[in-house]
């Protein structure tokens, strides 16, 4: 085990388990290794801490928690960076911005492709996708009839 002095105190991590960004993140191209930190409580947000820069930590989430149909598939050259084949799973993550007023937005315009087998990740830019760099969370619809949830769980 090794340790990092993060903004949030000392973090112990296994160097074999770090998440590698072979090209860094946009704006942090020189930072290649991150430790994945789970949220201590149940929730959709988790974070990654740079091994190389104690000041850099980012909150991430799985965008399909909020946007069901969001899916970005890696292109061939992106799969090569991730070290995966065309038929291997690749997950989408997005960077979460917590604004000074505690408002939360998701960067759906620059998702992170994550290959679990190789533990590699790549931030890509979606040109002309129509997705916003600061996508607000969807408004929860309180009008969902309760019987819908009941029938869905019965059929599961």
């Amino acid at each position: 085990m090794k340790t990092i002095d993060s903004r949030f105190g000392e973090i112990a991590y296994d160097p074999q388990q770090v998440l590698t960004f072979p090209q860094g993140l946009i704006g942090f191209e020189e930072l290649r290794e991150f430790v994945v930190m789970p949220n201590s409580k149940e929730g959709p947000l988790f974070w990654i801490q740079s091994v190389e820069d104690a000041q850099v930590a980012l909150v991430l989430t799985d965008p399909t928690n909020f946007f069901l149909d969001y899916k970005v598939v890696p292109e061939a050259h992106e799969r090569a960076i991730l070290g995966i084949e065309a038929d291997e799973p690749c997950f989408n993550l997005v960077v979460v911005t917590v604004h000074p007023d505690r408002r939360i937005t998701l960067n759906l315009a620059a998702p992170i492709l994550f290959a679990a087998r190789t533990n590699r990740a790549l931030q890509v830019i979606l040109e002309n996708s129509g997705y916003s760099i600061q996508t607000p969370l969807p408004v929860v619809q309180p009008a969902t009839p309760p019987q819908q949830a009941a029938s869905a769980s019965a059929s599961a």
Binding site: I26, K41, W47, V59, A76, V98, A110, Q123, I125, E127
Partner: protein, 81 residues
């Protein structure tokens, strides 16, 4: 910075595999055609800069913010029809 003057329809080669061409000139706007290998990343400068800024802004948060959203929002399961 290298500065070259080009006319409509003329082009520029960068290395062996990147070709730029002036496709249209209209007032203040120039349309460029770009031929490059798929793995070359080509972005509008301002979009790239904006994402850089957003990533940097996203590093300012507190541990308590992780609980802002509480438990996962479970998407409604699709109704079978």
């Amino acid at each position: 910075m290298l500065v070259l003057t080009r006319k409509l329809g003329e082009g520029i080669l960068i290395g062996e595999d990147i070709r730029l061409q002036i496709v249209e000139i209209k007032g203040n706007t120039v349309r460029l055609g770009i031929d490059a290998p798929r793995h070359k990343k080509i972005y509008r400068q301002e979009l790239y800069d904006h994402i850089q800024q957003e990533n940097r802004a996203a590093t300012s948060w507190a541990l308590a913010d992780l609980d802002l959203l509480g438990t996962p929002v479970s998407p409604p399961e699709p109704e079978e029809k």
